[in-house]
């Protein structure tokens, strides 16, 4: 009998302690707490406001050297495109029959450039570039597109402040937009 009352007491205590917290408490308790090291090892994704950008900085001049060594092979010496896509030009072409979508003509955020170079370039030597080299290459590509001056330095403060030419070139998804179910403008 005492067993039942003990179990009942445990149940009541358990219910009392879990029910009010049910929205906040784990149900299955699987896994273990992620450690700060583990999260750091993931290497941060970069937000448009610059969240996640690491320390370091890069100049256009430094970027020109890194680009020649690591990027020109696929993107061409002036980033005009080869095996890899063109990174320059195309401004003013988006509404034409032959749009050229490049960093300069199309990309809405400079932070995306840093993030993508950092995670995905050079294509066959991923992870090769150090943060300052990534800043430098980003600076050089922005310079080639006429977005920054040759004396500008890119770092976690300056890069997110850049206003890309096509920043306002994106709209939300209006679909369904074709046929009877198309949303009619109000």
């Amino acid at each position: 009998m005492w067993r039942y009352s003990a179990i009942l007491t445990i149940l009541i205590v358990a219910l009392a302690s879990t029910i009010p917290l049910s929205a906040q408490s784990p149900t299955f308790g699987v896994g273990r707490p992620a450690t700060p090291d583990e999260i750091r090892d993931l290497r941060a994704a970069i937000a448009p406001d610059g969240t996640g950008l690491p320390e370091g900085s890069g100049t256009v001049a430094a970027g020109r050297e890194v680009f020649a060594m690591q990027c020109a092979r696929c993107h061409g010496p002036r980033a005009q495109g080869d095996v890899g896509p063109a990174l320059v030009g195309g401004q003013g072409t988006l509404a034409t029959a032959r749009p050229l979508k490049t960093v300069g003509s199309f990309w809405p955020y400079a932070t995306t450039l840093w993030d993508y170079i950092n995670r995905a370039m050079p294509f066959d030597k991923l992870g090769l570039l150090k943060p300052s080299e990534v800043y430098a290459v980003a600076a050089y590509v922005l310079y080639l597109n006429g977005i920054i001056r040759d004396v500008d330095v890119m770092d976690s403060k300056t890069l997110p402040k850049i206003r890309m030419p096509n920043r306002d070139g994106f709209v939300s998804d209006p679909r369904p937009d074709v046929g009877d179910k198309a949303r009619k403008p109000n």
């Binding site: 699987v30 993931l42 448009p48 199309f106 955020y109 993030d115 995670r119 294509f123 994106f170 998804d173």
Partner: protein, 404 residues
């Protein structure tokens, strides 16, 4: 008894073959003929298909084959499921070799309890199984410019349908305790380029899965082994493979693959962003481009329809270039966001004609013509082409793509 009957029938067939062409047998090794009653191959640990079956994925030649795509041979598909070995592929930096014992999924950012989960942890949780189509946002992308896709595979083959098993992402998010300020997730893969996409929290809480199973076994490496994100009805790229990080944030991260790529450029120069959903689509797989009908006669016309918005309600067929349309028979079960097979008896009278299908889904949305799509979106949008595909059946029975 049964066996001996089979053997004798096989021998009969072989004898017939030998009678028809004696040289044929001497040139080929035919075990049954050399050893009457001879045995076949023994049991095996993991099965292969018959060597006579030749359907394969199509891949374009590339200097960078680690980034590219392979197309499912939809015209050879049977029923509604795609074999895992023929599921379309799209990788950005090759297929990683991941030891599941070393792999972890870390859920962090705006959460109360950042969590590190092993694959075993995730497989311990209550699982969900559903049959679901995956379609690349860029499937049929070349059809915007011209309807030059010569066959189903190369024009519509970046779509495949599997049975997927995994855990509800909403359940996992409850484990970590999402903070009220969070509104997005940044999903990242463990491939060499750590491919990432931003996903609205509402979708994650609705029907998203963290999948570990496909078609009765673990995911294939090309499909994200050991873990992938599944977002039912949304473009393939958002279904991040080799998933190792989910970061809760209050903003989308404007990744390269949701700004520079996978955004849809309109005629006015503006690009639509976060165009996640795949709209209703269908294609006739028989008769289709590259096939040849043996001559006039009765055939069963068949194909596949699907929609990212739910079930397929109706598929109509035209066999006279769009003048008249009739309802095709839909095979059950018609599952939401899954391949639905349609069939229609059709008599080929030996005269040239144009055939096409159009799907209607449960929301009432009707698959448009290519012209209707282009009238609204122009020809530079690149993604989300779901226009009707017309095939031309020629007098000699050959079937080709057609410019419409």
């Amino acid at each position: 008894m049964k066996n001996s009957k089979r053997t004798s029938r096989r021998n009969l067939l072989l004898m017939g073959a030998a009678a028809m062409g004696g040289g044929l047998l001497s040139g080929r090794k035919v075990v049954a003929a050399e050893t009457p009653g001879g045995l076949g191959t023994p049991l095996g640990p993991y099965g292969d298909r018959s060597p006579y079956e030749k359907a394969v994925r199509f891949t374009r030649q590339s200097k960078t084959p680690e980034t590219g795509f392979s197309f499912t041979p939809l015209a050879d598909s049977v029923g509604t499921l795609t074999p895992s070995s023929l599921h379309y592929e799209r990788h950005h930096a090759g297929i990683p070799n991941i030891d599941p014992a070393q792999h972890r999924l870390v859920i962090h950012g705006m959460v109360d309890r950042p969590l590190s989960l092993s694959v075993a942890d995730i497989r311990r949780l209550p699982s969900v199984t559903r049959i679901m189509v995956l379609e690349c946002g860029g499937n049929s992308g070349a059809e915007w410019a011209a309807t030059t896709g010569p066959d189903v595979q190369r024009s519509f083959g970046l779509a495949s349908c599997s049975e997927w098993t995994g855990v509800s992402l909403a359940l996992l998010l409850k484990e970590v305790g999402v903070r009220p300020e969070a509104s997005w997730l940044i999903a990242e893969g463990a491939d060499a380029c750590r491919m990432e996409r931003s996903v609205p929290l509402a979708k994650a809480m609705d029907d998203a899965l963290i999948a570990w199973g496909q078609n009765g076994e673990a995911l294939r490496p090309a499909q994200g082994y050991p873990l992938r994100l599944l977002l039912p009805g949304w473009e393939g790229n958002t279904n991040v493979k080799w998933l190792h990080s989910l970061k809760l944030t209050n903003q989308p991260y404007m990744a390269r693959d949701e700004t520079s790529k996978y955004s849809d450029l309109m005629p006015d120069g503006k690009a639509r962003i976060f165009t996640y959903r795949m709209e209703a689509k269908s294609v006739i797989t028989f008769p289709s481009g590259g096939q040849t009908l043996p001559g006039p006669g009765l055939f069963e016309l068949t194909g596949l329809a699907w929609s990212g918005s739910g079930r397929i309600e109706r598929v109509e067929i035209t066999a006279d270039g769009g003048k008249t349309w009739v309802n095709a028979q839909l095979h059950e079960p018609r599952l939401p966001i899954a391949f639905t097979r349609f069939r229609l008896p059709w008599r080929f009278d030996g005269r040239e004609t144009l055939i096409a299908s159009r799907a209607t889904d449960e929301t009432g949305y009707i698959q448009p013509t290519r012209e209707a799509l282009i009238a609204v979106r122009g020809t530079n949008s690149g993604y989300h082409f779901n226009g009707m595909k017309f095939w031309k059946v020629h007098e000699d029975g050959t079937v080709t793509n057609v410019e419409v």
